[in-house]
Amino acid sequence: MTTRDTDDRIILAHGGGGELTNRLLRERIVPKLANPLLDPLNDSAVLERPGARVCMTTDAYVVQPIEFPGGDIGRLAVCGTVNDLAVMGARPLALSLALILEEGLPMSGLDRIMDSIAAAAAEANVPVATGDTKTVERREGDGVMIATAGIGEMREGARMDASRIEPGDVVLINGCIADHGLAVMSAREHLAFETELRTDAAPLNGLIAVVLDTGADVKFMRDPTRGGVAGVLTDLTEATGLTVEVDEAAIPISRTALHTAEMLGLDPLSVANEGKVVMAVSANDAERVLAACRGQKYGKDAAVIGRFTDVAPPLAELITRAGGRRIVTRPYGEELPRIC
């Protein structure tokens, strides 16, 4: 058996959001911290207080390069944090922002990132309430890394809980997949392609509020960032013990993203998204949720993509365009390093 250095040290793929990340968390990180707030490992933690349920989340952004078609690390940081709160059924109240700036970063670059953060925060209607700024020596020329935290207040009656999902419930997504990951890839130096694709980074708290306002029974939400839709579908199967059956032809994807993914040899289901939410909804409420999404800026292409069944063994299964079937699994982890 060969020496495996992944047992001894971190490799890039540990941050990919796939299986390797999963394992790192389960074996080395979570066990040391284990507590009831952390254990569910949801997008945010819920703190129960007399008279309020507070939602708390944290994120780190190391995307490379820091500027890419349609956005930048600043917009990502705000939207990602806001969305982690929103998918829990919380109203985001405030964000914190820790900037780690690399020696040599042009001031004009910092200015653009800050403008972006301000614009995204304004769009989401969530203030940056506190922050910190540090500098580090010149390294890879990344320029900026960002760590955030977010606080939200759980909506009355919101109960996002995968254990509530039953056979017959459906899976929805608010729009086209794979744009973000592919847009970032196009900005990487040694991959020479240009694209019309733009990151889909967007704050979804507005859309999610409108959906929840309909009174529909939304049982679970998650944003398919690193690991893509495939990651979330796998999460759902594991969390529910049910099979998720997804119709490939129903998954919204732009023709450009489809062709570009094929060109790069990537499965669109594994590509990161930053303006998407996957929802598990009671079947009766699907139409209502779709209508609510489609009336919103970030939900125009919303669609039902699949459903839960009790077919054993529980798997995430794709009904392909050709009419066949295949399993969906969480990607390994390094397909697109440093994508968010």
């Binding site: 729009g175 086209c176 592919l182 196009s186 020479a192 392609f193 240009e194 694209t195 019309e196 694709l197 032809a249 129903a250 998954i251 919204p252 994807i253 732009s254 023709r255 450009t256 489809l258 062709h259 570009t260 094929e262 060109m263 040899g265 125009k300 292409d301 669609a303 365009r321």
Partner: protein, 90 residues
């Protein structure tokens, strides 16, 4: 490894005898563009469809046949059987 995708040449630059960069095409892949050397397809020109692999055009393909063969092109052009829920937006 055997990944090759069809696209339409929208621009050709260069000339001359450099086997790698002699003539280089910008190939449109339904909204993404990639550069491909025409070293193996010297007669290809703007408007032609080519099959691109690893930064090179391997061969010229007939546009109509390409649309018949590649599912992604069928979907893009809406020739699908209607069960696709996709966004035509770019």
């Amino acid at each position: 490894m055997c990944l090759a995708v069809p696209g339409k040449i929208v621009k050709v630059t260069g000339s001359g005898d450099d086997p790698l960069n002699g003539r280089v095409a910008t190939v449109d892949m339904q909204g993404s563009r990639v550069e491909a050397s025409l070293a193996m397809t010297p007669d290809a020109d703007v408007g032609d469809w080519v099959l691109v692999h690893a930064g090179f055009a391997l061969t010229v393909v007939d546009e109509a046949e390409a649309k018949e063969t590649w599912e992604a092109l069928q979907i893009a052009l809406g020739d699908d059987d209607g069960s696709v829920e996709f966004s035509g937006s770019d």
